[in-house]
């Protein structure tokens, strides 16, 4: 009886890994087509032209901060100095209890104004609006604490321009970030409702005053593993999804949206921790329900850097939260899964997600637990166990390497052989321990969700923890 069970688990797990390998390789191939196309267009798109063009649409950068006194002035300064013809920065101060607001007022000579608010998105009360005497395009919305999504909604309410770029206050943007990611809106203004860029890990990079001045790899193993994960999750996968207009994640750290599209779906949902993932799924849903042609683009150019958690506690909390958010969003929008009414998103995108992101964690966990035990108790023979190992680790390594290859072909950010070597090494190492740990956190996230823990946990007191990726990291 137990033998039967173990064998079945064995078959399922092996089948799962084989399926992963095949389908993710497929997605990577799709991505490589898209990246190549993008690269070609890049050759002649001449970003400088966009900077000078009168047709480049103005953007409102919406960002939220809670107790970020140390870094906020530099961060805002770097956002103000982005290379873009016309943009403004709207900072929502989410009821910070430290000197965040005071420091901003000092540094930018700010004064209170009576600005009218467009209250189409419900938010916690706004206490005041501040403008700067030195920078006419800087504005602070001071409000009661309500969480990051609430703060972003408040910022969107005050945003002046038709495009909004939602960024974490502590993300570092490259000077050409806006010009690069706004291109889909210029090329297809009638259809594009959102565009995302790639996030990179800034641990190990030299950062001066809010700008990455020198790219480098992190020294510690934990951020290194995350670097590899990000490569896989971004370049290799999202590009492919965007090709079939099924891009599900516009990551929290950096994305440009059409303001009216966001307001139309009601802005960020404040009662979920799914945040951006939930917003995007909702946008897909609404556009498909209205049967309007639309496009959510992904720009494979790396333009945004964020700091990755360096200790297991923070990392665990982050992944836990993401998986809770993922589960919550899937539950909320469960009617979309497998539903042809929702086109590619419903029929392929979401089921893919459910299968590999969501259920995947459990299948893997089962594999890691049951199979070694099965082998130990003699229910499985050596070759079956080895097969599992080979597939599990091999698929991980292979996919990471293809992501690395793709990245290297297109963007060549990691120039030195030493860095390349380290990345290759970690593509392998990541599968021995790190990946298993992530699986554990994901399962734990689900369990906490089921147990009714829908909140942010104790982490929200500490402000917005580094939150670059949404739940699809941890992909095979």
């Amino acid at each position: 009886m137990t033998q039967e069970l173990v064998l079945w688990v064995n078959r399922i797990v092996l089948g799962y890994f084989a399926l992963i390998l095949v389908s993710y390789t497929g997605v990577t191939i799709l991505s490589s087509i898209q990246v190549r196309r993008y690269y070609r267009r890049l050759v002649h798109a001449r970003l400088q032209r966009s900077v000078r063009s009168r047709l480049t649409p103005p953007i409102s950068i919406c960002t939220a901060a809670y107790n970020e006194a140390e870094v906020i002035v530099d961060a805002m300064r770097s956002m103000l100095s982005l290379r873009y013809p016309e943009h403004e920065v709207v900072l929502a101060n989410d009821g910070s209890t430290d000197t965040t607001l005071e420091r901003m007022i000092d540094a930018f000579a700010m004064y209170r104004v009576d600005q009218p608010e467009n209250t189409r998105l419900k938010t916690a009360a706004v206490r005041g609006v501040w403008r700067s005497r030195t920078h006419s395009n800087l504005m602070i919305v001071d409000k009661e604490n309500g969480g990051k999504c609430d703060a972003l909604n408040a910022a969107i309410n005050f945003a002046r321009y038709p495009l909004v770029c939602c960024v974490d206050a502590d993300s570092l943007l490259e000077p050409e970030a806006l010009v690069t990611v706004v291109r889909p809106f210029i090329e297809r203004p009638d259809r594009t409702i959102a565009a995302a860029g790639i996030i990179r890990i800034s641990n190990g990079c030299e950062v001066t005053r809010g700008h990455v001045t020198k790219v480098g790899l992190p020294r510690q193993w934990l951020p290194m593993c995350q670097t590899v994960e990000y490569l896989r999750a971004f370049t290799a996968a999202r590009t492919g999804w965007s090709l079939v207009n099924s891009l599900l994640i516009v990551s929290g750290a950096f994305g440009i949206f059409r303001k009216d599209a966001v307001i139309d779906v009601g802005g960020y949902a404040t009662d979920t921790i799914g945040e951006d993932f939930e917003l995007i799924v909702r946008m897909h849903r609404r556009m498909r329900e209205l049967k309007r042609p639309y496009h959510i683009a992904f720009v494979p150019d790396p333009v945004c850097w964020t700091e990755a958690p360096v200790n297991l506690g923070q990392l665990g909390g982050q992944r836990d939260r993401w998986h809770r958010g993922l589960t919550d969003t899937l539950v909320r929008h469960r009617r979309m899964i497998g539903n042809p009414r929702y086109g590619v998103v419903g029929v392929i995108g979401l089921p893919f997600f459910v299968l590999f992101e969501f259920l995947g964690a459990f299948v893997e966990a089962a594999g890691y637990i049951v199979l070694p035990l099965g082998f130990a108790f003699g229910y499985l023979n050596a070759s079956a166990a080895l097969l599992f190992l080979v597939l599990a680790i091999g698929s991980g390594v292979s996919l990471s390497l293809s992501a690395l290859l793709l990245e290297d072909m297109a963007f060549k950010k990691f120039g030195r052989w030493r860095d390349f070597g380290r990345l290759v090494l970690f593509c392998v190492i990541e599968n021995f321990g790190y990946r298993q740990l992530m699986t554990y956190y994901r399962v734990r996230g689900f369990v906490s969700y089921v147990r009714g823990d829908h909140g942010w946990g104790h982490i929200d007191r500490a402000g917005f923890a580094p939150d670059a990726l949404q739940p699809d990291v941890g992909m095979r």
Partner: protein
């Protein structure tokens, strides 16, 4: 005459520096806003050619900072910027720029403007 050229684009810096050096001025370079302010305070140029969009501190802020300094208050500032927009022009003048040129620019025109700006400053100082 001493001229400071602040622009993050190397091509532009080279063009402007070459032209101004050939005119006989002593030229200093700065790659970003912060460096521009530092060099300006140190070398006390007569004219500054300033780009609007630079990392670390943009041209407008540099303008404001320099105008706050007592010794540099009367330095001639020429804004050389990508954006032809009207509001950029207006804001530059409000911040204290004396001249405004947009890119793409003509080096001959730049040379003349810098020279005139410089001579105006020396006239103002001696009177």
């Amino acid at each position: 005459m001493k001229v400071l050229v602040a622009d993050d684009s190397m091509v532009v810096r080279r063009l402007v520096c070459a032209r101004l050096a050939a005119d006989g001025h002593e030229v200093f370079e700065a790659e970003d806003g912060q460096a521009a302010v530092d060099v300006a305070l140190r070398e006390r140029p007569d004219v500054i050619v300033l780009d609007r969009q630079m990392p670390k501190m943009d041209g407008f802020e540099v303008c404001t900072r320099l105008r706050q300094d007592t010794t540099l208050r009367s330095v001639g500032i020429l804004m050389l910027t990508d954006n032809r927009g009207e509001h950029t022009l207006i804001e530059s003048l409000e911040r204290g720029a004396d001249e405004f040129m947009s890119k793409p620019f003509s080096p001959r025109e730049l040379s003349v403007r810098v020279r005139l700006l410089g001579s105006r400053q020396t006239l103002a100082q001696t009177s």
